[in-house]
């Protein structure tokens, strides 16, 4: 087994409160103590001077393409895109084809992905069979098959009684319920935030209440069931305050936000910019500040890409006919670093939102550089600037509203399970 030394990088490991310039050693796929290395030979070396070395990024919500899919984005293309963005673990929703509502499907996803060079893929199991919101899945079996939680993806559970029972049942087996809260009636056929832009452009709108009504309902159910719940991709400031209030009362809740909701607003849809067509929609300025505040105070602990690759034709139509989504794996890190530039977060907090915080939400051991951890590592140059060019994207989906924008921060090396999957070493070294 090869041994690797990553030298002189600025090691930022928020899980262990570490921020110092030093070396990281990898042996047998794991990170090992300094002292162990004094008397063994090093096979390869990476000079990380001027670079930041942190745990591999964990994307809590990404669509990773499907095996054998005829679409332009497949598991292969999306895996490459993720690795180039420093992402070593991606959590996927159960709304695949077919739906992950049986242990067999969960097992298949895990074994398929273990066989190829890509990020670790962690599936969420379906909360209800076929995501239809009518019958509970065998959650205990899904958990045993490797699902890190259950979710009904973006299909609402309309029946409140069933939602309550799903939470009670999940809680029985200590399973986290992931919830995209929205009220299907208030959402209707809405495509953009109900605000000034929906009025100017005459586009069907999703009111704030479509989210807050559902968050309120789901929090009330969390309260009565005691389940551990995670709110996925919240978009409204009011949702953040409700979640914060519940946390203060001691409920076991957490939340994440898509990076684009932290940077863009309803006004970016101007000119019928279909690249900004996302669900939940880009909200108002006040919502963006509320989300940022929630991130700073810890109500929201995780930033995700909400990666949804689309074919370009699916974005070239009148707005309401286009597919929702942004291809976000390759821009997750630099866009999160923008929040550091804008002084929303400090660098350690930003990295925590992409590493140890999502690991905690998912209940997995990743997201740490402590000795004996599996060596999932991201190394990036925080000062390198580059311009987003859809033609150079590795993802099958080139749907990004950030095309032509300058990014600061570029991944140079990615290790998954101790294996260098992106980037070059500085050659073999004999010591």
């Amino acid at each position: 087994m090869k041994t690797t030394a990553i030298r002189n990088g600025r090691v930022i490991d928020p899980a262990n409160g570490i921020d110092l310039v030093g070396d990281i050693f990898i042996k047998n796929r794991r990170i090992v103590e300094h002292s162990e290395f004094s008397n063994i030979s090093i096979d390869r070396e990476i000079d990380a001077s001027g670079l930041i070395v942190c745990p591999g990024l964990i994307d809590i919500n990404a669509k990773m393409g499907e095996r054998g899919s005829s679409q332009s984005s497949t598991m292969q293309t999306e895996s490459k895109a993720a690795l180039s963005g420093g992402i070593t673990t991606a959590c996927i929703q159960p709304d695949t084809q077919p739906v992950v509502d049986t242990p067999a499907m969960a097992h298949m996803i895990r074994t398929n992905t273990e066989q190829q060079t890509g990020p670790n893929i962690l599936p969420l199991g379906a909360l209800t069979i076929g995501l239809e919101g009518e019958t509970l899945t065998e959650m205990a079996a899904l958990k045993a098959a490797g699902c890190v939680g259950v979710s009904n993806a973006r299909s609402p559970v309309r029946n409140t009684l069933l939602m309550r029972r799903a939470m009670q049942y999940a809680s029985t087996f200590d399973i986290t319920v992931f919830i995209h809260s929205f009220d299907p009636w208030l959402t209707g056929n809405g495509r953009v935030h109900e605000g000034e832009m929906s009025t100017r452009l005459g586009l069907p709108a999703v009111p704030e209440a479509a989210e807050t009504v559902a968050v309120a309902r789901d929090l009330a159910l969390v309260d009565t069931t005691g389940v551990r719940a995670h709110f996925s991709q919240v978009s409204c400031a009011r949702s953040v305050s409700m979640i914060a209030e519940s946390k203060h009362r001691g409920l076991n809740v957490s939340a994440d936000v898509a990076i684009h909701n932290l940077l863009l607003t309803e006004f970016d849809v101007d000119g019928f910019n279909t690249m900004c067509h996302v669900q939940p929609p880009l909200r108002g300025e006040d919502d963006r500040s509320g989300l940022r505040k929630g991130l700073k105070d810890g109500t929201i602990s995780v930033i995700c890409s909400d990666h949804r690759p689309c074919r370009i034709d699916d974005k070239l139509a009148p707005f309401v006919q286009t597919a929702a989504g942004i291809s976000g794996l390759e821009t997750l890190l630099p866009l999160t670093l923008k929040l550091v530039d804008e002084e929303v977060l400090d660098l350690t907090e930003a990295i925590a939102c992409l590493t140890c915080n999502p690991a905690r939400t998912l209940g997995i051991g990743a997201g740490s550089l402590a000795p004996q951890s599996v060596a999932d590592i991201c190394i990036f140059d925080p000062d390198r600037t580059w311009t987003v060019d859809p033609d150079n994207m590795l993802s099958g989906g080139r749907n990004t509203p950030f095309a032509g924008m300058e990014m600061r921060g570029k991944v140079t090396h990615t290790f998954v399970n101790g294996k260098l999957v992106t980037g070059q070493t500085s050659g073999s070294v004999k010591s």
Binding site: T199, R200, L201, G202, L203, P207, D313, P318, F319, V320
Partner: protein
């Protein structure tokens, strides 16, 4: 703000998609040109040879009678050849995208498309994807924009009131779903109207509409108080079934324009309606056919305004030459 597709690098009108982002002078030039076309039929001039050999395609993905007909007459009076394509005869039914439909037609060397579509942003999308010599005129898209309708209404108002400076205009009805309302609100503000009001129940008023430059009224009597112009909007029957408005009867009672309610407006207030009208639903027959109604002159002005827009876009410098003679 994204770059406006309507004006080319020389500052000329290339497409006509929305009133938004157009300078006041340009709108006034179109209105003046339209004015010069109004009396053509009575002067015995049926055709101007401005666009001989040019082809205009009426590309209507949504049914329309008066917009399509008046565009056709307008283009023919300018000597253009006109092709009419209605949604049921188009391949989009077979799954072709609208951009492919336009590309196919453009390969037949057509010059201008008048586009009508049920979805907001359709005309804008097409305008962003056609080669430089092809022009797009919006014949109404979704809830977004219907700029020629707004201009013909501005022309009608100007004929009767001469200037916009001191005018108070009330737009009454389904603002939420109305592209006409959005375009008129913008046009009235650009042309300097003193006050633009909207009057409707809250279910038919879009969020933050005041940002467009209007005062919001839910009470018809108050909303019509001392206005110079009343614009009634059509209420689509399918939107009446208990979801947005409880019943046609209650709507008529609260927001239908009757002679009684019209008494709140100024004595010389004019009544407009983009048509087609629902008598006894949003407007009483006696008002629609009454002395203050200008509904029919709106229709004939529609031809003049559409001629002016087509000429401005396709005629290039020749419009200047004509005004010089």
């Amino acid at each position: 703000m994204p770059q406006d597709v309507q004006i080319d690098s020389d500052g000329r009108l290339r497409h006509f998609i929305s009133i938004q982002a157009l300078p006041r002078e340009l709108i006034e030039q179109i209105l003046e040109l339209a004015e010069s076309y109004i009396d053509f039929p009575t002067r015995g001039i049926k055709k101007v040879p401005l666009l001989r050999g040019k082809t205009v395609v009426n590309l209507f993905f949504e049914p329309s009678t008066r917009t399509r007909t008046t565009f056709e007459i307008a283009a023919k009076r300018l000597s253009a050849d006109v092709i009419n394509l209605q949604s049921d005869s188009m391949s989009t039914v077979k799954g072709e995208t609208i951009l492919d439909t336009v590309k196919t037609l453009q390969a037949m060397h057509t010059d201008t498309f008048i586009v009508r579509h049920k979805n907001s942003g359709a005309a804008d999308l097409i305008a962003r994807h056609v080669p430089p010599h092809v022009h797009i005129i919006n014949g109404g898209d979704g809830r977004y924009s219907h700029p020629t309708q707004a201009l013909l209404d501005m022309l009608t108002i100007r004929q009767h009131k001469h200037s916009f400076e001191n005018l108070t205009v009330a737009i009454v009805g389904d603002i939420l779903h109305s592209r006409v309302a959005r375009s008129e609100i913008t046009a009235l503000n650009v042309l300097g109207a003193a006050e633009v009001r909207i009057v409707a129940p809250k279910t038919l008023i879009p969020t933050r509409v005041e940002k467009l430059g209007v005062k919001v009224y839910t009470d018809m009597a108050k909303g019509l108080k001392d206005v110079d112009v009343v614009v009634m909007l059509r209420l689509q029957m399918e939107r009446m079934e208990g979801q947005l408005v409880p019943s046609p009867r209650e709507y008529y009672q609260c927001y239908g324009l009757t002679e009684e309610k019209l008494k709140n407006a100024k004595p010389d207030a004019m009544v407009m309606h983009p048509g087609p009208i629902n008598r006894g639903l949003e407007i009483a027959s006696s008002v629609a056919d009454g002395q203050r109604s200008v509904i029919l002159s709106q229709v004939s002005n529609g031809i003049a305004v559409r001629m002016a827009v087509i000429a401005k876009i396709m005629g290039g410098d020749s419009t200047k030459r004509k005004s010089a003679t």
